[in-house]
Symmetry: D2
Subunit: 157 residues, 4 copies
């Protein structure tokens, strides 16, 4: 094993990163803190937990707009993730506090969340994500007027 | 909320899907089964758990080649995920058995795993993923000769 | 910080341990393997995951008897845990394979699972647990004839 | 399946409950909120997650006293759970906010946390737990002066 410089790694970031960076300004942010049990044997937050952070942030955002993910489910309306892209730029560690931010956009029938996690101690961008969601109404593809309204409002901001 | 047909959704699959589909034939597969606790209030496997499935499959694959993720960590060598792309095509449910398959390719300094999950009951492709990994040796970007050899062998197959 | 011998710790094991040890012979066992993501920053399986292992074992046991936890839920019948006792005797580590065993007993309206995890490499008893479950039928305490029959059969064995 | 009244279930609560109830007044509390991904297919928080809540509360309590679980680990000092007892009295659901409270006591070489979760909306006691912890110093049983001091202070309060 030998060490090399990181130029080659950085170059390939490209598209996803650019797209996500362009999504600012974010319309919602949630302050969170790493919990020790979310870290794995490498001593850093296990990757799957970032999806948990992002999901929780989306749901809290929706709640702030009066929309409950669990209530929607009871009504036969399910928001489902159809695509996820995540780029990891720095790892979160035990005791780290962070801001989980998002922006919402509608493209066709998809509700697309651009999300990012910033470590509070040094304002460093740690992880960025793009999550495409679809609305299933009793199992069939549909749309949700409340979400459409939120996406419209986000556009104006 | 109204329902529409799913054409518009399908069209946008595009690139990621094609890339991943092209990655066959896979060089490793692991039979797994959904555990009830992995399902969320929608009654389907929570998205973050697919990352767990994929991670576990990568680690079992490495073990089958004599490489232990946890032993590497003890030696100061960490395989870290730098990018994830996942496309969700069908949800796994309680009791579902599935095959988790992978293909490995090296691009520059990145070890790229193309992964897919097929439900066993009907051989349906459920989730596809592309995971870019980097090797950090005592925190600096490097490479791993054993992984390089595995990637070389995969190419020949 | 100073080290002392472990006599004092062992002595206090007492009741729970004895009860659980007495539950043998077990009527079901499931072979499992630690997944790296289940380990926390101490490099050992995080305690909460043993509850996952135990839950999964109970559900697989029920399935082997033709009873599905998720199907029961759809019918308005929920098996809920009302009490858990766990004694940790040795930690599971990455790559460990283990047998998760159980015994079922009915006491009053409670379905009590005595469970234990044995590491395969050295047959060491790692964790023992006693889980009391109640049956809720549309939210009210009830009982389940199928489970009663299983508990009766277990008694005979 | 038939429904019966819950007297028989309540009677058997007994010892654990009494012990834990006696532990008040608590010396630390942490406000938390259920995250949707912590709920399972029954639509309520999965039992294993209460262990996560309790663990996170203990670690935040320690941090409030200047003790970091992850830093201890780096120094070769591991707090490990040797026994857990939990009694479940009411389930937490999506959107529930709750107070996670604890009391610390030293018994022999064990650091015993009495913990309870109260739902904020109606101040209902939902789950109580007693967790016995041991200190391992480079793998051998020991004790931790800082924790001893905290336990002493708790006694006075």
């Amino acid at each position: 094993m030998r060490q090399q410089n990181s130029d080659q790694l950085q170059k390939s970031e490209s598209l996803t990163t650019q797209l996500v960076m362009a999504s600012q300004p974010y319309i919602y942010e949630l302050k969170m803190k790493v919990r020790d049990y979310e870290c794995d044997l490498q001593g850093i937050v296990n990757n799957a937990n970032y999806q948990h952070y992002f999901e929780h942030t989306r749901h809290e955002f929706l709640l702030s707009k009066g929309v409950s993910f669990s209530e929607l489910h009871k009504q036969g309306i399910d928001a489902v993730v159809v695509k996820v892209e995540m780029v990891f730029k720095a790892s979160l560690k035990p005791m780290d506090e962070f801001l989980s931010k998002l922006y919402l956009k509608k493209e066709g029938l998809r509700y697309i969340f651009y999300q990012a996690i910033y470590r509070i101690s040094d304002n460093r961008l740690c992880i960025i994500a793009k999550t495409d969601n679809a609305i299933l109404i009793n199992g069939k593809l549909g749309y949700c007027e409340v979400l459409d309204k939120i996406a419209e409002e986000a556009k104006i901001n």
